[in-house]
Symmetry: C3
């Protein structure tokens, strides 16, 4: 949380923007949450609900939106950096400190670790770092400044764009490609053969998967996440897509730029998902569906039909104490019977036509 | 999608069956979907909903069911291969082209890569291919034509049947066995110790897991899928079972032949699942349940009791716009109150006995 | 299931406690379930529903609760070990036999396999076993009697407590720590960077993840389970936590001692979970929530709000035949319309005020 080498608040604002209120010669040496921040840290207020905690923070300065400033004064005496989006500014400040921290670590020397197995036909940029016990097959292309950590497997004909970083034990299969500035975490499996079978009188006949996986720039792929190769064409992941851990992307999927998926999401084969979508944890999308741009799916929700209209969609059974859930679940199982009873009542007391017509939609 | 070396339509039909209508000397060099197919490709129509697209395809020939032929004529001028099940025929045609593609690639020489660590007591068939950085422990048996790709771990006493293929970075634990023609994808973990604990006044006492995992022929195990070893007896996977990625199979499970599970499915310990079942993505099965043959579980559904009757079963909360879901969810939480109101109404207007009796089931 | 070297029942009870009824010179050489037990095995009855099977078991002796003894006699002629908690006693008996089985196997010699890549700055205890093709980075500390199996990756500055066992192909990232007697299964990924982004006008700005993962003693981490490192502070897992396979724990989470999670559970970032909780398979917890001690979440349930009261909580749509589910789901989608119809009926027949007031809560 604290770095030896600090930065003047004035210099930070010169680099990252925002309007500084307070002493621009104050030195801060790290960023921390409101409650953990020490006197030499900067902190941030990205959620007005935390304004009480912000008042009491020990931090030297707060990244804040103009709307929250009045609440802090006069109690908070430190510096204020007024910005449009405190959370984005926090991210950039954290990047700044992370980078200066990184510079203090010994840099990895470019080159191929002697324990790695690299096919002679592979083209490895001189600036790339290939870690211990890595396996690189024939005709792989590794561009400038790529870093491949210990134990990764890169199949024949794959191409890894410049400045990308593969963490330990990634499995990257033949002929799959990823762009620049990508991050792939441990245990991810890209380009394995998807789940394709035709049922022939009870036996499953394998459909060979001969497409590839084509991934754009600035993509992040979480630990133990899988992306299957296409069947006849390619699985496509556009620029800026962010996938968390334990995600499953089926064959032939198309995921539009800047879409983000939280952990444990599943997308069945041939789904086409738009740009700037978000998926909460463990959301599932059935196969062959189309999801428009700017669709947001809540955690734990199953998408069983295509969605053409932007917006937030949800579908999970609300949590309750088990005894209460038992009651609700029992009625849910027999909802048509409850509706029939309402119909019978309506008939008995002869509800006016207009109301009954509306009812008949149910 | 296109292969240099083509095949005459007449020869394809001789090999794979079906009835050809059209020029049997037409050469096709690959298979592609209706819309992407080029003039030298064959395509297929396995879903009548796509008949409009089939009319306009550029493909040289279409694999088709008799029932759809009338719709295409006279617009579509190419060849027609009439078959009972176009999707199965597509799978077989794709296999044909994949195999001829494969034959053009350099074959892997049998033998053990010098970087692999193989215990001297292991029996490796002379025709097997053991890739780089593979670790094989004592008394392992690897049969003919097996292929183990880079970075796999095979624990002591394991046995891998002939013609099986392990992709990179599989973890296969001691004494587990798999039959012939199996495929195991990257990151799969077979035979780790299952989740067995007895709670002793708040502390978890480990139950050692001393059974194994016994897997039949023609089984496919997806990327990052886990199958736990049994506790006192074995976990059993019968012939022809197909498991997609990210699946979890608990200890002591028994999965019947030709059952298929889509990605992210979970099966808790000691569940016994029949033959020819299918499980949609992220379906979950609780422990110690019995599922009959020919049961089909929809995606996202939790199986909380045994199922003795074949058929399709479903249980997920339907997706809705978030605002609509909020309303439904609020009522679901208080469904017993809504039912009580219906009861009160029934009492007020004295519904005839027969109707009320039906109601009392709720 | 059967071990060559047996133990006298009398000696077993001396070691593990309980009250023996029957011949204390009977030799048993293994433990097995009621139905599979042979005449030289011991078995256990931990669930009264299985009393019929217990009567007919071939086992030499049964671990049993006093309450079930009457039912077995006089039919069952073997020994009885009366204990308070037969399942816990079963676990301890199984541990006893597993250990004596283990002693018959060749022990692994301490030391570093010549194919492992170990940085010279790492401190490896002389009693530790480092397997083949393991990669250990700089300044790692490996304590006494640790065992690291083939293909594991241990990042710089990590510390692994005494007597811990990592199975093959674990990815353990820099500066993460685990206590004594831990077990980490294959494919687990600990300390990768969590899913942290700020959205800047449609683009995701990465928030560097600079915290670590700190794990206590006696923790078990399942195959392919992921635990993300913290953002600014650490992700914490207390003593005795048991995590099954395929689990995802987000950054900054705090999991209290002796909590257990079944397979496929997901916990989003910054959730704080109490002690002695249990989570059924595929349960999901949203981010930033607080869960009290002794909370039990059923399988397949989504926790969308904090829980301050101990107890069992559930939330999943009950499974039904698909046709029945279709009906229920259609009504669930329009529940507010059904409620409106009930309201209209109540108005028509002028329900007494008291009832209607209650109704207005819905």
């Amino acid at each position: 949380m604290s770095d030896r080498n600090g930065i003047r608040l004035g210099e930070l604002v010169e680099r990252l923007g925002g309007q500084l209120i307070g002493d621009d010669n104050l030195i801060v040496n790290g960023i921390a949450p409101l409650e953990q921040a020490e006197a030499t840290n900067i902190t941030f207020l990205s959620n007005s609900k935390l304004r009480q905690q912000a008042r009491k923070t020990l931090a030297a300065a707060i990244i804040i939106h103009e709307a929250d400033v009045g609440f802090l004064q006069p109690e908070f005496k430190g510096g204020l950096i007024l910005v449009e989006n405190p959370y984005v500014y926090f991210a950039k400040t954290a990047q700044f400190f992370a980078q200066s921290e990184l510079q203090k670590q010994p840099t990895l020397a470019p080159g191929i670790h002697p324990s790695a197995c690299v096919d002679p036909s592979a083209q490895i940029a001189a600036t790339a770092v290939i870690g211990p016990l890595v396996c690189i097959e024939s005709h792989v292309v590794i561009e400038d400044n790529v870093r491949i950590d210990g134990g990764c497997f890169i199949g024949r004909g794959a191409r890894i764009g410049a400045h990308s970083h593969f963490y330990a034990n990634v499995s990257w299969h033949h002929d799959c490609r990823i762009g620049r500035h990508a991050i792939v975490y441990s245990g991810a499996v890209i380009g394995n053969e998807g789940f394709g079978f035709a049922n022939d009188a009870g036996r499953w006949i394998k459909i060979p998967q001969r497409g590839g996986v084509i991934i754009g720039d600035d993509v992040e792929i979480g630990a133990n996440t899988c992306i299957d190769r296409g069947t006849l064409t390619d699985t496509i992941i556009e620029d800026g897509v962010k996938l968390d851990n334990q995600i499953q992307i089926g064959h032939n999927c198309y995921i539009g730029a800047h879409t983000a998926m939280a952990g444990c999401v599943g997308v069945a084969g041939s789904a086409k998902i738009g740009r700037h979508c978000t998926f909460g944890g463990a959301a599932m999308v059935l196969g062959h569906l189309n999801i428009a741009d700017n669709v947001h799916i809540s955690a734990g929700s199953l998408v069983s039909r295509s969605i053409s209209e932007p917006g937030q969609y949800t579908g999970f059974f609300p949590l309750a104490k088990n005894a209460d859930w038992e009651k609700s679940a029992a009625i849910v199982r027999n909802l048509d019977s409850l509706r029939d009873r309402v119909r019978a009542l309506e008939k008995m007391i002869e509800l006016p036509t207009s109301t009954r017509q509306e009812s008949s939609e149910n």
